[in-house]
Amino acid sequence: MTQYDVIVIGAGAGGGVVAAVLAEAGKRVLLLERGRAQSFDELGRDHLRNHRLSQHGHSTGPELDGNPRVFVDPAGQERVLQPHEDGYQNNAAAVGGGTRVFGAQAWRFLPQDFQMATTYGVPADSSLADWPIGYDDLAPYYERAEWELGVAGDEGNRAIWPRSRPYPLPPMSPGRQGVVLRQGLASLGWDTRAVPLLINTEGYNNRAACIRCQHCVGFACPTDAKNGTHNTVIPRALATGRCELVTEAMVTLIDTDSAGCVSGVSYVDREGHHHQLQAAAVVCAAGAIETARLLLNSASRMHPRGLGNQHDQVGRHLQGHYYAGAAGLRAEPVFDGQGPGVSTATCEFNHGNREVIGGGMLADDFIVLPIILWKRMLPPDLPRWGQANKTFMRENYRRFLQVMGPVHEIPSPEARVTVDTSVQDRWGLPVARLSGTTHPETVRTAAFMVERAQDWLEASGVTRVWSRKPGLYLSAGQHQAGTCRMGADPRTSVVDTCGRVHGHDNLYVADASVHVTNGGFNPVLTILALAYRTAEQIAHSG
């Protein structure tokens, strides 16, 4: 007899949802997470070691030692990187995964986001494609995610998503920067809406409301008002008594039997002991890079190129989000210390832009930590040191304003995760090797969005506007996606429309890997919705 009905690899966004749905459906679930369950106090507020600025490490794993990746830059130069270094494309490793410390923006993708190839055609050398499912397939699951985890929002001045139920929580009220930016949007006549947030604006699910602190994105919430999987669906899964969560459990292999069927997983526990466990089904939810790596590392005699990889698709189409934005200064201070800071968005340019493919949402920013302003956001012509620099920081920290947003990327099959057998992690496994870049069309769309961000600031009374010109690079990072693309055709995709790996009866992927394209929005609500949908399929499949 198998020990578990289902083993879920990774207790992040997707994995947390799958564990809850299946445990509540009566399944015996094992949830394995390489990170730890960390309290607010353990995570702390180190401005140099967090997932917004990981200058010298981060509070939420993975550990700096023993978890390298190989990054190949556009010039072909290879570097072995630690998790906090640029190019590693890190996301948090923790119970909750990225949602432990995320910014909590909770966007649905738009109907056209699922039909990019039909809408725009396919640029040469890109792997732009339609999703095999549409917005209507996902809508009920978006709604479930919004209600079960708790999203605050409203539809603003234009409803662009067909929805059958409103958001469960009222929107975050705009602070001073939001008020100023809404005036700008009104003067332009642009779409204006509250940023939907997985944050309790009122008490919800027996947890408190947001106290509008200054350390939201990149940090844990002091009042537990930010809704990740760690404080919603994972506790629900555990409360059934049928889900066991093991932390600091690194899954090293998905095991297959002599016939090539998935039989369970192997993992190493925190003491370094090896375990091999059997399950009727296995769900990969390790995030887009680690899921691809695990499938590739699980090659066996029957699956010499890795699981699900008979057509060399696993790891391809790696994508994330270019961020297009602009910054500037207002004559009057806009900083009011009201966290999270982000409150106001426009979806005016997600689609229908004549010159470019796709587009993206633009929104204001979270409260900017002072050292991040200095490192990333100063005007390019400002001296980097000396009295002029100090005076600028002093006079303008509270007058600084920026808007930005994720650009819908045009994927490239050459942006990919492979495994590098010459570099091993602390468990002796080949590490992820990241190479390629996004498609050049992404850069064009990003440049277009930079100009729209500038327009918005200029209409909002911002006197001096600056921005950076986007270049061509590999983008994955915290919004990493696409490495096990969903599709009907096994030759061009890795999982079917339910998230089941082609050619396998009992192996699923339930994280951002399955995204065909990544929308012009932060991705987590889509990851959650897809995980609900896939989990339901698994529950029904016996």
Binding site: R45, P370, I371, G386, R394
Partner: protein
């Protein structure tokens, strides 16, 4: 444990105080950047100790060669001029480390100490945050 020599400390202090000078708010040293750098040097395995020490020595040699005085004895204006040259890699003495890279490193670490959270050793009493108006309320 390795520590800096007295001359290295004097050069460091003078240099970081030009990177963030004192006005009616403290300069880098007065806000604790020295403490921040000390903790980095001892606690961060990736801290570039060799570049740090060699760069401080070279900065002083450069000052001596160009002006006949140690860096810390120069006027603020002369220190600024010299640092501006080093920033673009223009030096006359022979440096064991890339002067521009050393200076960029020193600027970044000085800013980290000054503007990041006081638990890192700099920005003591949150003085830099008071100056710019970043308040932690919740």
């Amino acid at each position: 444990m390795t520590v800096l020599t007295d001359p290295q400390i004097q050069t460091l202090r003078a240099a970081v105080d030009r990177i963030i000078p004192e006005d009616d708010y403290p300069g880098a040293w007065g806000a604790g950047v020295g403490e921040y750098l000390g903790r980095q040097m001892h606690g961060n395995p990736q801290f570039p100790r060799d570049i740090y020490r060699a760069g401080l020595d070279a900065l002083d040699v450069e000052a001596q060669l160009q002006t006949g005085e140690p860096f810390c004895a120069l006027s603020a204006a002369a220190q600024d001029d010299l640092l501006a040259q080093i920033e673009i890699g223009r030096v006359v003495s022979s440096w064991q480390v890339d002067p521009a890279a050393f200076f960029a490193f020193l600027v970044h670490y000085t800013m980290e100490g000054y503007y990041s959270d006081p638990d890192n050793g700099g920005n003591q009493d949150g003085i830099a945050w008071k100056m710019i108006g970043f308040e932690v309320r919740g």
